[in-house]
Subunit: 459 residues, 2 copies
């Protein structure tokens, strides 16, 4: 079979699950202007349609500053979505650090280099003493992939437990433990999933939440034992972004950490979403839960957009892995990425962005509750720091309503406000702005929401 003759008949289209808020490459073209359509057609000719675009009318970005993005016409988009540019778009300090290092050198870790050691030492200082080693990668996906490999070698087991709508990345292995892709991506045979959203979005008392979740994870462990896989790792996004943004009352994750340790596995804290001060309450999501994590994986905001990731781990795990094989990542820990990452930490510290995330998050939460709490489509809201989820329902709020959610997102986009959605059916509005989001930005966002309320978007 050559690429030219092979049929696609065997590929089940119904298995595909599109990302929330995706542009429809087939039906979406008709409603675009000629210029917009020409641009998307060009993109399709070059990139195909494997990669999603956002919004019914995709946004064409040319520059940015702080929490604002601009298109070629100079329209000022308020960025309430992007966590990668955590210290602001076009951050001058990151730019200067990168420019300085590019004037020096940018080779790899098979030579001794100060940049990787200085940053490595510094990032470890943000972790508990027991998590005392770091290896660098280029993305959260590479980090989670490596973490799972390390867990397998260390525990001698293969089984992995995740949440029912988890997303952990795009390598073959981590996509096979990411049920949020839908049935188009086969799940690993050694995977067990646990539903948490129903419990964490309800009104149950904390002790009951803990009991239920512990029982469910125990069932998952049993399933993996029965399947002959054993339990290698529980892998948990510490804000449960794709499950609908579920910070929950701090603490329940540590009960799961203790439980997985008892069955011979480890806890991998996926901090790609929840890390770097995002939750306001602690620098890492697992610390917010006081959880005894064995490995943490980081990525996205780490270097404000320069591809960088890392795996932080207890040294015993790394020693087990090193006794079997090596891990050399060509770009991992390269001096340019390290300098950019260092500048991000400088900005977070000097601008007190942890406290800022906490404060602005509270501000947004309070004002949104006040504005939306009484609307008929409002079903609930959760937040930790600058990560907020608002559940949107049918006009009587009896059931979730992805279409109404999508309408809100696209109406905001037309008002130059960028947000997106999350959750199993995409019915949770997702707010996750750069950490430098200001009070003035809050005001602008709230004014836009107020307009949408007046226009009836919230029922």
């Amino acid at each position: 079979m050559t690429a030219d003759t092979a049929g696609m008949a065997s590929q089940a289209v119904q298995g595909k699950k599109q990302v929330s808020n995706a542009f429809d490459f087939h039906k979406g073209m008709a409603s675009l202007s000629d210029d917009e359509r020409a641009l998307i057609e060009r993109r399709k000719r070059i990139l195909g349609t494997m990669g999603p675009l956002f919004y019914d009318r995709p946004v064409h970005i040319v520059r940015g500053q702080a929490a604002h993005l601009f298109d070629a016409s100079g329209n000022d988009y308020l960025d309430c979505y992007n966590n990668v540019a955590c210290v602001g778009h076009a951050n001058p300090r990151v730019r200067e650090a990168v420019n300085d290092q590019l004037g020096l050198q940018d080779t790899h870790s098979r030579y001794v280099q100060d940049e990787i050691l200085d940053y490595g030492e510094r990032i470890l200082s943000y972790f508990p003493t027991a998590m005392d080693r770091v290896n660098f990668t280029n993305s959260g996906s590479e980090s989670n992939d490596l973490a799972l490999r390390m867990a397998r070698v260390f525990t001698g087991h293969q089984g992995v437990v995740v949440t029912t709508n988890a997303y952990h990345g795009i390598t073959s292995l981590v996509s096979s433990v990411s049920p949020s892709f839908g049935t188009g991506v086969p799940l690993a045979p050694f995977l067990a999933t646990v539903e948490i959203a129903d419990v964490l979005t309800g009104d149950l008392p904390e002790s009951q939440v803990n009991d239920i979740l512990q029982q469910r994870f125990a069932c998952a462990f049993q399933k993996l034992h029965d399947g002959g896989f054993g339990v290698s790792a529980v892998l948990l996004d510490q804000i449960f972004s794709s499950d609908g943004i579920l910070p929950g009352a701090p603490g329940w994750v540590n009960h799961i950490a203790q439980a997985v340790h008892r069955v011979g596995g480890i806890l991998i804290a996926d901090e790609v979403q929840s890390g770097f001060a995002r939750t306001g309450e602690a620098f890492w999501g697992f610390q917010r839960h006081h959880a005894d994590a064995d490995i943490a994986t980081i990525g996205k905001p780490m270097a404000n957009g320069i591809p960088t990731g890392a795996v932080i781990y207890k040294h015993q795990i790394g020693e087990a892995f090193a006794s079997c094989t090596r891990y050399f990542n060509t770009f991992g820990g390269n001096p340019v990425s390290m300098r950019a990452a260092e500048a991000v930490l400088d900005e977070i510290e000097d601008r007190h962005l942890l406290a800022h995330a906490q404060q602005i998050g509270e501000q947004l939460d309070a004002q949104l509750h006040q504005l939306l709490g009484g609307t008929s489509r409002f079903r609930g809201m959760r937040h930790a720091g600058l990560f907020l989820g608002i559940d949107i329902g049918s006009s009587d709020s009896a059931s979730s309503d992805p279409q109404a959610t999508r309408a809100i997102i696209n109406r905001l986009r037309d008002m130059f406000i960028l947000i997106s959605s999350s959750g199993p059916d995409g019915s949770t509005l997702k707010l996750r702005p750069p950490l430098v989001f200001s009070s003035a930005d809050v005001d602008r966002f709230m004014q836009a929401c107020s307009t949408l309320v007046d226009e009836g978007y919230f029922g």
Copy 2:
């Protein structure tokens, strides 16, 4: 089991295969100076020992320029090894492009952006018309991982064929099709391997080489069919770097491409090593072989060190994949990486680095043949462009000699010349300098080699 109590007894140390030319973290410490030892101890405390270091006395790099690297004492190391910094260390054009873009924005491909489209269009112009789509990643590993996922979906098969000492990267999937890691990394059950080094380093006539290799690949296909896996892809590094650097007479790879098409699979050309003008004869290694590749994967030199990779493919393959799932890579195709990659192409074009690689490669090959051809440890030599392999043998050259190879590499390192080794037992000297390697650089390298000949390192 917690990280603190788990035993490592089950981990078989004998399975570990160290990278060629690796520093020995255990035995190597004794021969270092106090300062060197303190530096390595610091590195071990931060990074552990999962990641390898080069040389018996590791090199501490602080800056670079063109094909030269410098340590803190100002020693000028001639870089005969690094392909990533293909247009030279601290390249001003790459630096300027990155600095310019960091002043604008660095978000992701869910917005329309000119940078990814401009570079995407340009990189596709370097490929045959049928390879008409590109998706971006952050590394060669991510590229190969995605390529194998795409091959599976497109063909409906799972089996993969690689060479016996192949290296294709470090994700779980691609490391499981990389036998060069040794038995410490379990190979995938759906993998078949083909030995090529014996045939391509011998004196057989080209037609016989083709016949033997076609028979061997046919056996591999049969094995995968018998195992119930079918044939998804033949995945071949187009210079066979880890197998000992085996350019071979151009053409044989296309016979394999035709054969894999006949059994329903595709050819993935791993261009992470052989791409971007490296072989001097063609921009991509598979073009040198006139091979009908279905997918090409690129990485390392693409953006001179800024993490960037890509998968280039026939659109039918991407459409099959897109009908099942999406592929969004947060950093993949980010504007900063794209601008750096664009600057690399500008440099390759404007400085005629394809022809330069050809010319300097010929120069090195001729002079090395003249100097080493008559020495008793010389067993053979191969090259394409600026990728050269020299086989080092025992004093009568009857068998390969990794120790003698290692001695040469470390002696050169003490003379501030950086090379490394390759091949199944690390007995092939590997020369793979930045493409900007000059005639003056050749002279300095040859003088050092001449000294080593006088000192008896080549017998």
